[in-house]
């Protein structure tokens, strides 16, 4: 760290210096490591996000619609009616995305399942198989199929209420899962058939299929196994969105999940976190356009994920064209991620940074017991309390969606549309094709190219 002396010797201070220090730290870390850096959390890039678009509530011009109080607003969501006999029925259009048992502790997975069930929504397994507790406590469980096939069993698969085939994740598109050796405990190792303590780097291509045609055949197999009962959805990182979504729809899937670059992860190489994929906002818009061009909008459901923090973000995603949203990082934070628990945690001592700055998910040293396999740390997460926190958070999101829907003069959250939104800056306007606030409104038919 001799470079510190050099930095201190410089006369500059303030804004630019902070970035310089981060840069120096990054370069020096690599000079010692000799490889790329891996970390958890999500991107640190500043990109267009939900704050850059705004709802324009209707007040006097609301006369044509029978006003609904927030309490009357409907939020129930049905996903998967394209081919599945039993679509997912959720009380709210927000569910908890797939996070692996392995990346997360058993307590965290159980709490998420219980919390989601309390809020009447779904949870999803992840790259590492199903935890029996997860099934027992969740009301709707999406069974995830990753390229690695870790912990995958047809016996568990038929217990799922939906199946998700993961093409990639927004946080690390086109690479497989990463589970650092510190987190591959005896139990995890057994479940994934790995030697304990060894870094697990999952493959990125699936064994059964290479392209969309094979994927179509594979999905048919999955339908046979599950007797055409449950929906099959495909999760795609937001990159070449239009082409990818069209191909996904062509495979015969019931739904598509589009995962933006702001999505979180337990471990990813930094270059992919920060430099791959497009933001969630244009991701949703392009995905919707792709489905519209195929005439499949409303038939193939669209789930948006990547950086959704609250009910307003979720409502904006729905207004832009999503049928539901999935949360990951937000759900983790509701479990007390990055929160100092007096008398229990000591972030500075345990991970070297204050609460609020921790990105140590990949190390297994999670002070609050979420992303760890260390039994001592895991005990800090009290499952039932944590489940209540998750449920409260999900309910607050739903509540927010009700309020904004009511303010916009609509009775069902799924009635939100692009004519309820405007962009606050040029980038957001260009990326979403929404009008800039104050500029000409698009026509009622929603001509996005204004």
């Amino acid at each position: 760290m001799r470079i510190e002396a050099w930095l201190a010797s410089r006369v500059v201070s303030g804004r630019s210096d902070e970035r310089d220090e981060t840069l120096v730290e990054e370069i020096q870390a690599k000079a010692e490591l000799g490889r790329y850096r891996i970390r958890g959390f999500s991107t640190f890039q500043r990109v267009v996000h939900f704050d850059d678009v705004v709802f324009l509530p209707r007040t006097i011009t609301n006369s044509s619609v029978r006003p609904a109080s927030p309490r009357q607003v409907r939020t129930t969501t049905s996903l998967g009616s394209r081919h599945a006999k039993n679509p997912m029925k959720l009380a709210t259009p927000v569910y908890i995305t797939g996070m692996s048992y392995g990346a997360l502790s058993k307590s965290a997975k159980t709490a998420l399942a219980k919390g989601a069930a309390k809020a009447g929504t779904a949870t999803c397994t992840g790259d590492g198989g199903m935890l029996p507790e997860e099934r027992r406590f969740s009301s709707t469980m999406i069974y995830q199929l990753n390229a690695s096939r870790y912990g995958v069993s047809p016996r568990d698969m038929v217990l799922g209420d939906a199946i998700e085939v993961v093409v990639g994740q927004g946080a690390k598109p086109a690479t497989g899962g990463l589970l650092m050796g510190q987190k591959v405990s005896e139990t995890i190792a057994e479940k994934r058939d790995l030697p304990p303590g060894i870094d697990q780097r999952s493959p990125t291509r699936h064994p059964e299929w290479l392209g969309p045609d094979d994927l179509g055949i594979f999905i048919e197999t999955l339908r046979e196994v599950t007797e055409w009962k449950v929906p099959v959805q495909i999760k795609i990182p937001a990159c070449r969105v239009k082409d990818d979504v069209k191909l996904a729809a062509k495979t015969g899937a019931d739904g598509v999940v589009i995962d933006g670059m702001q999505a979180g992860t337990g471990a990813s190489s930094e270059v992919l976190l920060d430099h791959s994929g497009i933001p969630t906002l244009p991701g949703i818009v392009l995905a919707r356009e792709a489905l519209e061009e195929l005439g499949l909008a409303g038939k193939v459901y669209l789930v948006a994920s990547g950086g959704i923090r609250n009910g307003l973000d979720a409502a904006k995603a729905i207004a832009l064209g999503a049928d539901a949203v999935a949360i990951g990082q937000a759900a983790i934070i509701s479990l007390n991620c990055n929160r100092e628990l007096p008398g229990i945690t000591n972030f500075v001592k345990e991970v070297g940074v204050e609460a609020g700055y921790c990105t140590m998910c990949h190390t297994g040293r999670c002070p609050v017991g979420i992303t760890t396999q260390n039994p001592v740390l895991e005990r800090r997460l009290v499952v039932d309390e944590a489940a209540d926190r998750v449920a409260s958070f999900l309910n607050s999101m739903t509540e927010e969606m009700r309020f904004i829907t009511s303010a916009l003069g609509k009775r069902d959250v799924h009635e939100l549309g692009i004519d309820d939104l405007a962009a606050l800056n040029l980038e957001a306007a260009a990326m979403t094709k929404l009008p800039l606030v104050g500029s000409e409104r698009p026509s009622a038919k929603g001509d996005r190219r204004t």
Binding site: R2, I3, W6, S9, R10, V11, V12, S13, G14, R15, S16, D17, D20, L23, V24, E26, I27, Q28, K30, A31, E32, L33, G34, R35, Y36, R37, Q45, V167, G168, P173, A174, T175, R201, P203, T204, R205, G211, I234, I236, P237, C239, R240, D243, D244, M261, S269, V271, L272, D274, H275, S276, G277, I278, P279, P282, G283, L286, E427, A430, M431
Partner: protein
């Protein structure tokens, strides 16, 4: 610095300090760039494979990084193992120069440096010797260098540059490539001129430059960002039908493998790192002038510093290959324009890369 002006857009603490320092008779040091913001590689992202393309697997499938510079007219082009090489400087201390040279050798890549050569610099895998375009005497190092880089200064005409290149090639039977370097001002015109004068490659220097120590230094900030420069140079090569024949080297603003990969996708064939290599070396005061730099490093320190530089280059190479595989490319030089999206309207207009969502 606490100041009532801290929140002002114009009178930021840096500006105030700058004026104070100047009025004290000094000149201010500014880190990696001017104090203001301008578009960087961070405003571009890669569009990794999904269902449209197949990614390559990390541990089974390679993305080649071998890089060739100067294949247009030289019979002995530069062949290096990674598209990242080190740009050293004559004004660094001897130890630091030795460390950068050894580091580049360990990383199997090139080193560019001007002035008289340090003994360590003769042992690198590929030595690019920098000479000013106005040099009247022919460089004595021509025979030892694997490539020559002509640093074009103000007032160099195409004819004199062409004459210079011809003289080096013919009279000295020089067989290596001739690189032409210029500040990124009128990049399109200058690239065409360099091509006409017989350059094998152009080395672009944008405004992401090292610290300014003097008024002369600060003139470096009168350039365009490197992302725009690469794009202009690529267009010039395309217009002259020498795209792929004449190489583009991005010599500023490269901080990590992602920057390098984006430079390649925009049209560069290689990137040169200087400030970041100095930081990687771990030395105290890379920006001090040699006379002021205490000669305290022993031989071992040079070795350690060299290893750090090499490791840093390796990390960058791995990052480039990682991104390249995520795009399904078996060779990092197959990265292309269509692999990128812009996150801002400025970056999109400057580079021609489509805005995300467009």
């Amino acid at each position: 610095m606490d100041s009532i002006y801290s929140h002002s857009q114009i009178w930021i603490p840096e500006t105030i300090r700058d004026i104070h320092t100047r009025s004290d008779g000094g000149y201010m040091l500014s880190g990696f760039r001017p104090f203001y913001d301008f578009p960087t590689f961070d405003e571009l992202v890669f569009l990794a494979s999904g269902l449209t393309r197949f990614p390559l697997e990390g541990y089974k499938e390679k993305s080649k990084t071998k890089t060739v510079i100067g294949s247009r007219s030289s019979s002995k082009p530069l062949v290096i193992e990674t598209p990242v090489y080190v740009a050293s400087r004559a004004d660094l201390s001897a130890d630091l120069r030795a460390a950068l040279a050894l580091g580049s050798a360990l990383a199997q890549t090139a080193l560019s440096v001007g002035g008289s050569l340090h003994p360590g610099e003769r042992k690198v895998k590929a030595l690019i010797h920098e000479i000013p375009s106005g040099a009247r005497t022919q460089p004595s190092s021509t025979g030892k260098a694997d490539a020559l880089q002509i640093n074009v200064s103000n007032g160099t005409s195409v004819d004199s540059l062409a004459r210079f290149i011809r003289t080096v090639r013919e009279k000295q039977e020089y067989r290596g490539p001739c690189l032409v370097s210029f500040p990124a001002g009128r990049v399109r015109d200058d690239t065409r001129a360099a091509v006409r004068a017989g350059a094998d490659a152009v080395v672009l220097k944008g405004l992401e430059t090292r610290a300014a120590l003097s008024i002369e230094d600060s003139m470096r900030f009168n350039r365009m960002p490197i992302i725009a420069a690469i794009s202009e140079a690529r267009e010039a090569l395309r217009e002259n039908r020498v795209l792929g024949e004449v190489q583009i080297i991005a010599a500023t603003g490269i901080r990590n493998g992602a920057d390098a990969a984006k430079a390649l996708a925009l049209g560069a064939d290689a990137v040169a790192i200087s400030d970041s290599a100095l930081i990687a070396s771990g030395y105290d005061s890379p920006l001090k002038m040699p006379s002021a730099a205490p000669r305290r490093a022993g031989r071992d320190d040079v070795g350690i510093a060299a290893e750090r530089v090499a490791k840093y280059i390796t990390s960058m190479t791995m990052e480039i290959a990682l991104l390249s595989r995520s795009l399904g490319k078996g060779n990092v030089h197959s990265l292309e324009f269509e692999d990128l999206a812009s996150l801002t309207i400025e970056a999109s207009r400057m580079t021609g890369v489509r805005l995300a969502g467009d």
